[in-house]
């Protein structure tokens, strides 16, 4: 059944100039395809459209153009068109949004909103999402609330209101909104559980947040939930449990570079360098340009005295993050290991320029200057490092060595005393250095005392730390002979 009355020329201008070309004609079957559509009963009769059914569209019909330019003539088909138009761009808005074409997306949203007096739920929703990604959280919250006003039963809006509140740091309010969303929602939603867990984590309710994350994983497992669970354990300093969670997550998605890096860093923190390196390397094989992983892996390589290997890794990171103080610090120490002192000082000074309050850079600079014999400069760097971090033993000891080299015997002794006081006698190098300085300064009596302390600390130390520096033994032997012990 051909409903010829519904045939219409879609574009008036076209039909005048090129009728056959543009006078597109369809056999409209809308009346049949409406109402209840169950199974095959959508059509009452067989369509009788032949392949080349093609009718010249010369008869004029109502212009079916955009609503806002047509005069508001009361006509049911127009009202229908307007209502169609309201949701017709949603698909495009969605595609532009998920493909990160935010500018085009916002333009389209503005166009749609101005057409319908701002009364469109989905465009407002996406606009809010984009505003939030741009960091305008307060604005996005208002937009989500506007969308909620238009359709109070949409769980998606509630979820996003909660998310914005969470981002604004109003965790308590966010939890309330999520509770409400859970009440309204008909299905179990991992995202609500997950976000509730996040809020509880920031409220320092770790057990509750753990429960929420577990519920989220029960609905469906996600890498991000595992990561947050690990983070909760790490915050509570339960590192082994955190590692267990991460390893479980890695079973689920073995190639996630972020998970691999996090596990590597945790092992590094627990002192298991070999394992840490294994995970960091795996992470680098997936994402060879992640600067955090590069830094961690590079520092382990550096610890094993493979300076060139570490430098190759750092080069990649330097392209991506040329302004990282940690990176330049590590590069500087690589050059130090290679005995290229000028390059080392240059890199460390850049690091100190980038982060002037990082004590370890000042300490490293002190070490390099001490090695090059620039004791006056070394003194300044050690003392500023101590000012920034007053409880680092080695800095006091090296300060003392520097002062001794500058013939400032009294201050050197004071620095040794302070170092020994903080350390509590475990580090034998302090005692040995102290004894040498005292001997050089002519105070043989106190030197003997310190040497005795050194001997006992040396005996108490384990094999590994004794073997770390063979120079200690020779120095100790020389001093023993000089003191005549």
């Amino acid at each position: 059944q051909l409903v010829l009355g519904a045939c219409q020329a879609w574009d008036g201008r076209k039909s005048r100039t090129a009728k056959r070309e543009a006078g597109l004609l369809c056999a409209e079957r809308a009346p049949m395809y409406s109402g209840q559509m169950t199974g095959d009963a959508a059509y009452e009769s067989e369509p009788e459209v032949e392949d080349d059914s093609y009718v010249d569209a010369s008869q004029p019909s109502a212009p079916a153009a955009k609503v806002n330019i047509v005069p508001t003539k009361a006509n049911s088909s127009e009202a229908k068109l307007q209502a169609i138009a309201r949701s017709r761009w949603n698909y495009k808005i969605h595609i532009l949004y998920v493909r990160h074409e935010h500018k085009e997306c916002l333009d389209l949203i503005e166009q749609v909103l101005s057409e319908f007096n701002g009364m469109c739920e989905y465009p407002i929703y996406v606009k809010a999402l984009i505003k939030r990604q741009q960091g305008r959280i307060q604005e996005s919250l208002q937009l989500f609330q506007a969308a909620t006003a238009l359709n109070p039963h949409n769980v998606a809006n509630l979820k996003q209101v909660g998310r914005s509140l969470y981002l604004l740091g109003k965790h308590k309010a966010a939890v309330d909104v999520y509770d409400e969303a859970q009440r309204v929602s008909t299905t179990e939603d991992w995202e609500i559980w997950h976000n509730k867990g996040l809020c509880h984590m920031y409220l320092k309710q770790y057990d509750t947040s753990m429960e929420c994350f577990r519920s989220a994983n029960d609905v469906q497992r996600h890498d991000t939930t595992y990561r947050q669970m690990g983070k909760v354990f790490t915050l509570q300093e339960r590192y082994q449990e955190a590692i267990d969670v991460y390893l479980e997550a890695l079973e689920f998605s073995p190639d996630n570079p972020e998970l691999l890096t996090t596990v590597g860093l945790l092992y590094l923190r627990m002192g298991e360098n070999y394992r840490a390196f294994e995970y960091l390397n795996n992470s680098l094989s997936v994402d060879p340009r992640d600067e955090k992983t590069i830094l961690a892996a590079g520092s382990i390589i550096q610890d094993h005295n493979d300076m060139d290997g570490a430098l190759i890794k750092y080069r990649v990171a330097a392209v991506k993050t040329p302004n990282s103080a940690q990176l330049w610090n590590n590069v500087g120490m690589c050059f130090f290991g290679k005995r290229k002192y000028i390059a080392s000082i240059a890199c460390l000074k850049r690091a100190l320029y980038l982060d002037p309050f990082e004590w370890i850079i000042a300490y490293n600079l002190g070490l390099v200057h001490l090695t090059t014999g620039q004791c006056a400069s070394a003194f300044h760097f050690f003392s500023s490092s101590i000012n920034l971090k007053p409880d680092f033993v080695a800095a006091y000891m090296y300060l003392a060595v520097t002062l001794a080299k500058l013939d400032d015997f009294e201050n050197a002794c004071a620095a040794y005393d302070r170092a020994a006081e903080i350390d509590g006698g475990a580090d034998f190098t302090i005692r040995l250095n102290y004894a040498i300085t005292l001997h050089n300064g002519g105070d043989v009596e106190r030197s003997r005392e310190q040497f005795a302390e050194f001997e006992s600390a040396w005996l108490a130390a384990d094999e590994e730390s004794r073997a770390a520096d063979p120079d200690v033994e020779t120095q100790a032997e020389t001093l023993r002979r000089a003191l005549g012990v």
Binding site: D40, D52, V98
Partner: protein, 549 residues
């Protein structure tokens, strides 16, 4: 139409031998070149000015003569365009901006060559076009409109219709209508957009009125009344819907012209599947959210054994298995999907907006003796840039191979076999592919049609020697090469001057004196400070008293 792009047939005749020389049988066999084979540029037109995404592109044998044509829709121009070889052969206006376009073969009783239908979704209609026949003047490539489906409006609450009817004939006051509709909304009834706007308008005015004197209430009622007047003249409220995506179920994957069925998805989450003769809707499924992307598994010979995967706007992927929405087989995503593709009959690949691609099993199956359950995550890919478009590479060689390719915003197209990268293609860094489709073009079997963000179209032929198994370790990712290039760039170590070196030498020699001088100056500074402080305290006491007085 006269506009034709650059045709580079020269380059592709030398395909087998890049050097262009005839092989000398006496010469020792050259080792295989280490560099991966190049894609061959078959045709490109940077000025094509098409803004088609993957959803708006397809290749089809429109005339049934074995010559595959490229069909693309331009959303901006509202046109459907057909290219044959390197020539734009047909342009056809559309009544509305196209949402999606797909070619499919309906079952027909006519004999002779089979011709595909071209389905275009626009607004609340799905239009079906067909290619022209062969006439004495050659092949007519013009698409002709055939018929259309209009999506049905959704049922409206009878209570709501009643309220609006009574508002229309003034037998209900605006306040009562407002209260009744608000009550219906709070009860959770699905309401029309008109009612939602009416309620939102009413509440907005209510909030504006801080002091509820009669004047303001009147003002509110006036605005509402004006709104009601403008709406009620249009008749009872309706809940129309619009199309969001199109898909095609192929009954037999191997044959290019096997019968296929069209799927269309609507704004309110309905998925309609047409019957094989494309004349009626044979099945309708209801999903909780609007479908953004739809993909159907191929590779299964048995009819009806398809899985329809639908990526919806609520960040979930729903699956229709064996004629029903499988409630257990739902994939929750961390970020919304920005495309969807299926590989074979068992796997769906979902690129997400957070640059991660997840692959899930849709059916229980076994790979290398390992049992894989439906719903299990198979692997994830972590891409270095966000995905601009995705397509399944259905490569036709001695046997069919299915790979999935992603175009990323850093200007690469990467094809994966499982989680292994097999082929890369560098495109323009500043002009990524926003639409891709792989298939036949002209008479070439394996061609990749790509639309760049700037509107240029290019067709490339897949290298015939390209290793698609991922077993060859030499086939390195181009970005990895870039990493090694980065590793070779020297560090920008700050330079030190000669003066600096001289100063260090001086410090080494006179370090002691410098230190003493510094300590002396420091002592002097401290002394001076202390003196100044004492002086300030002495004078300052009086000053403070003066200030107080």
């Amino acid at each position: 139409m006269a506009h034709a792009g650059k045709l580079m047939t020269q380059s592709y005749s030398h395909d087998a031998d890049p050097s262009g020389m005839t092989p000398n049988p006496d010469a020792p066999r050259r080792p295989k070149p280490k560099t991966p084979p190049k894609w061959l540029d078959a045709w490109s037109d940077p000025m094509a000015n098409v803004d088609a995404t993957s959803e708006l592109m397809d290749v089809a044998d429109l005339a049934g003569d074995g010559e595959w044509r490229l069909v693309m829709c331009s959303a901006r121009e509202r046109k459907i365009k057909v290219w044959a070889n390197a020539r734009l052969v047909s342009e056809q206006g559309l009544p509305d901006a196209p949402v999606a376009m797909r070619c499919f073969y309906a079952q027909t009783n006519e004999g002779g060559k089979r011709k595909p239908n071209v389905a275009v979704a626009a607004g609340n209609c799905v239009f079906i076009f067909r290619g022209g026949g062969v006439s004495a003047y050659g092949t007519n490539s013009t698409l002709r409109p055939y018929y259309k489906f209009t999506l049905p409006s959704l049922p409206v609450e009878p209570r709501e219709t009643e309220v609006w009817r009574r508002l229309g004939n003034d037998s209900l006051t605006i306040d009562d209508a407002f209260n009744e509709l608000a009550e219906a909304r709070d009860a959770g009834a699905p309401l029309t957009e008109r009612t939602l706007e009416f309620l939102a308008l009413g509440e907005e005015e209510l909030n504006n009125d801080n002091n509820k004197n009669g004047l303001h209430v009147n003002a509110r009622n006036k605005r509402l009344a004006a709104f009601v007047r403008s709406q009620t003249v249009a008749g009872p409220p309706t809940r129309p819907t619009s199309a969001t995506a199109l898909g095609v179920i192929k009954h037999v994957a191997d044959d290019a012209d096997a019968v296929s069925r069209l799927i269309f998805c609507t704004e309110d989450g309905q998925v309609h599947v047409l019957s094989a003769d494309a004349k009626e809707v044979s099945a309708t499924y209801q999903l909780p959210s609007a479908v953004a992307f739809v993909a159907v598994t191929t590779g299964s010979r048995a009819e009806g054994k398809h899985v329809i995967a639908c990526a919806c706007r609520d960040n979930r992927v729903y699956n229709i298995v064996d004629g029903a929405v499988d409630a257990a087989l739902v994939f929750d995503l961390e970020a919304p999907a920005c495309g969807l593709a299926t590989v074979g009959g068992n796997v769906v690949v979902i690129p997400c907006a957070d640059d991660v691609v997840h692959a899930y099993a849709l059916r229980d199956h076994a790979v290398d003796g390992k049992e894989i359950l439906a719903g299990q995550k198979l692997y994830s890919l972590y891409l270095p840039a966000s995905v601009a478009s995705v397509t399944t590479l259905d490569v036709n060689r001695q046997r069919r191979l299915e790979r999935v390719a992603f175009a990323t915003r850093d200007g690469y197209v990467r094809a994966y076999h499982g989680s292994k990268l097999v082929v890369t293609l560098k495109t323009d860094e500043n002009d990524p592919c926003v639409g891709m489709r792989f298939g036949r073009f002209g008479r070439e079997e394996n061609a990749l049609v790509a639309v760049a963000a700037s509107g240029g179209v290019s067709v490339r032929i897949m290298p015939r020697r390209a290793d698609l198994t991922g077993s060859n370790e030499n086939n390195r990712d181009a970005p990895t090469d870039e990493t090694s290039r980065l590793a070779a760039t020297p560090l920008a170590v700050p330079k030190k001057t000669k003066l600096y070196v001289e100063q260090t030498a001086r410090e080494r020699e006179f370090g002691r004196e410098m230190h003493v001088a510094f300590q002396k100056d420091l002592c002097r500074l401290r002394l001076n400070t202390a003196r100044a402080r004492v002086a300030a305290m002495r004078d300052g006491g009086g000053g403070g008293a003066r200030g107080g007085g």
